[in-house]
């Protein structure tokens, strides 16, 4: 039989109890906030499998207090028994989904391409356009962030009408690229600033042109930053509603506009709205979970100097 000889003194035990209760509070708050952040998403997913009585009764947990049905997804034409059939709603949904994909991906690519070049130039060379020096040019680009979309919206409406670009994808792509360009430049300037210029010096001495050095040496190093900027632009442009609502009508309508237009017309058919909303946010949830690292990197850029 072995008795414990050494004991913690009472003072130490009190400390441990205090520490333990501190831990409980920390985890309590963390779990509470995780609940706040995730519950609406959970609510949307489960509602899309409910039927009218389940909605009225306010059932929350599937299988326990109601049986999931494919009602919501059937109305979208995406449930297992309708997926093979023709469905106008699904065709409409897929068209909007495709529009959103093309517009957000192209706008992000355009913004990252233009923004990376500009950020690289600003981080390496001295420009002088009239009275504009480097800091003025940087400020000119970043100040676009302050510009509220509503200032541009109506002039663009009139301009696009004159140019025959209303309700086209290319019109939205250009506008979206403009709105995310300052963010891209912000992230990329930070990224290029952290790469030593000796790398290009060596490359230039070895006979590469400046664009050769930029494309073959600097860009691969700056790739994580570019991915971060791209993902962030993708999220912002995918979710954009204001311009899309004003500038598109039938051909180039994006997914958020479709979701918004359904809200009013369908009254209380919650299950189909839930299915539609969930289908609209699903790509972003996937991106958020898979590429969380890049999103955080992108947003943290510039916060810490």
């Amino acid at each position: 039989m072995t008795d414990q000889i050494f004991h913690d003194s009472d003072a130490d035990r009190a400390f441990r109890a205090k520490r333990f209760s501190g831990r409980i509070v920390i985890y309590g708050i963390l779990i509470l906030w995780a609940f706040i952040a995730l519950f609406p998403i959970y609510w949307t997913i489960t509602t899309s499998f409910k039927m009218a009585p389940d909605v009225m009764k306010g059932n929350i947990v599937p299988y326990w207090d109601y049986t999931p049905k494919w009602l919501g997804w059937r109305s979208l034409g995406l449930s297992p028994d309708t997926i093979g059939n023709e469905s106008t709603v699904r065709a409409e949904f897929l068209k909007r989904f495709w529009n959103s994909t093309i517009i957000s991906v192209s706008a992000s690519i355009l913004a990252v391409a233009l923004g990376s070049c500009a950020a690289y130039g600003l981080s390496r060379f001295n420009y002088k356009f009239g009275f504009m020096r480097n800091s003025d040019i940087s400020f000119f680009f970043l100040s676009q962030l302050i510009l509220p979309p509503v200032v541009l919206a109506l002039p663009f409406l009139v301009l696009y009408k004159a140019l025959g670009m209303l309700d086209t994808r290319i019109g939205l792509i250009l506008l979206y690229a403009l709105t995310v360009l300052p963010i891209v430049i912000w992230i990329m300037r930070d990224q290029f600033g952290s790469i030593p210029s000796e790398l290009e010096e060596a490359a230039l001495v070895d006979g590469l042109s400046i664009w050769g050095a930029f494309l073959t040496i600097i860009l691969p190093i700056a790739l994580p930053g570019m991915v971060a900027a791209f993902i962030l632009s993708l999220v912002l442009t995918w979710n954009e509603y204001f311009f899309a609502a004003l500038l598109t009508s039938s051909h180039a309508k994006t997914l958020p506009v479709m979701v918004a237009s359904q809200t009013g017309s369908q009254g209380i058919s919650w299950w189909s709205m839930a299915a539609l909303s969930f289908a609209a946010i699903l790509p972003l949830i996937v991106i958020g979970i898979a590429l969380e690292r890049y999103i955080i990197k992108g947003m943290a850029a510039g916060a810490v100097k």
Partner: protein, 368 residues
């Protein structure tokens, strides 16, 4: 970052022949002349002097694009290595100038005219009439006042975001899970959020939150009928989406603080509360101010949720400036007046942000 001298020097000596320079200049001016010619032609067609029958102003756009390409090419042709460097920044500059400066100037013209897209009359100048109408428009000033309220909500958002960032920065298990969970609201589109929360969870009869409130004993909970509560609900929804954004910026700042500062304070006998206020918080000031300023910028664009949940109601109590102008156009097609409101908003924003940034700058670098 130093602004004196290039970080990279030009190491190649360019031998640019006069002929090449001439060619470069010629294509730039040639394409510019072509552009002006097309503009003049279209303007003449528009006013009816000559009739060519242009459907749209597209030819002008194409001529402009051609000129932009020639300008970029001309830089390299006439200036060699230096031109290649200008080429880094020129496309982005041309893009922004053509997409912002030109529409803004155009917007100024619209702002001073009476133009209703629904009426067949077309545009006509009306001088300061729009300004006078704006000055006496109670709904517009109400929307402005709402923007102040919405912006003040950022203080609470900041406090919550700071708390969450501190917790995430502590020694906890499952940090990755919590980080992803906290981040997700930011990824969702405001339109989806306005349905998920505004229309279904906050529904008066079947929504889960109304149900809970009824359990607690609130009689007939309603969320969007009284102005104060409706405004609060909009603030909460917007906060729900954007708190992760501030949280991540603050978290990045927290992680950049060296650990030994806190340890030194601990050795000196400071408790957690003092350590936070005397060490962590002052060190976080620059990051906090950046985060708050960016958040204000995003807040000033707030519209999607309001348009989709309350469309400004009850009685304009939740209107933001953006959503008000959106409805001004949607319901009345009043382009001239709407643009004037937007332009005035821009001026107010620019002045307010300049003052804020200057004040923040002053506050962050106190004179010792």
């Amino acid at each position: 970052m130093s602004t004196e001298g290039d970080l990279l020097h030009v190491v190649t000596a360019d031998n640019i022949s006069d002929q090449r320079k001439q060619f470069g200049k010629r294509i730039v001016w040639g394409s510019a002349a072509l552009m002006f010619f097309v503009v003049a032609l279209q303007a003449a067609d528009q006013t009816g002097w000559i009739s060519i029958g242009f459907e749209t102003w597209r030819p002008t756009l194409y001529a402009y694009i051609l000129w932009a390409i020639c300008l970029c090419a001309g830089q390299v042709i006439t200036r060699g290595e230096h031109g290649k460097r200008t080429l880094f920044i020129l496309p982005a500059t041309l893009f922004v100038v053509s997409m912002v400066v030109f529409p803004l100037l155009f917007g100024l013209i619209i702002a001073f005219s009476d133009w209703n897209l629904a009426s067949p009359d077309g545009r006509k100048f009306n001088g300061w009439d729009n300004v006078r109408q704006m000055w006496t428009d109670p709904f517009y000033w109400n929307a402005m006042r709402n923007m102040v309220w919405y912006s003040l909500a950022i203080i609470a958002e900041y406090a919550i975001a700071f708390g969450l960032a501190l917790l995430l920065n502590a020694q906890i298990k499952g940090r990755k899970f919590f980080r992803v969970a906290f981040l997700l609201p930011l990824m969702l589109s405001p339109v989806a959020v306005s349905w998920m929360i505004g229309k279904s969870m906050l529904e008066n009869r079947f929504g889960p939150i109304a149900r809970i409130l009824r359990e607690i004993g609130v009689d007939k909970p309603s969320f969007f009928s009284s102005p104060e509560i409706a405004r609060l609900m909009i603030m909460l929804m917007d906060a729900w989406t954007y708190i992760p954004f501030m949280m991540i910026m603050i978290l990045a700042g927290l992680q950049a603080i060296p650990k030994d500062l806190n340890e030194a304070a601990e050795v000196d006998g400071a408790n957690a509360w003092t350590r936070f206020w005397e060490v962590t918080f002052p060190l976080m000031l620059p990051v906090s101010i950046t985060a708050i300023l960016i958040r204000i910028i995003f807040k000033l664009k707030l519209a999607d949720i309001i348009i989709n949940v309350t469309s400004g109601g009850p009685g304009g109590a939740t209107d933001s400036v953006t959503s008000f102008i959106f409805r001004e156009y949607r319901d009345r097609s009043n382009v001239g007046y709407g643009t004037m409101l937007a332009m005035f908003y821009l001026v107010v924003i620019v002045i307010a942000m300049t003052i804020l940034i200057k004040a923040a700058d002053r506050w962050m670098r106190p004179r010792y």
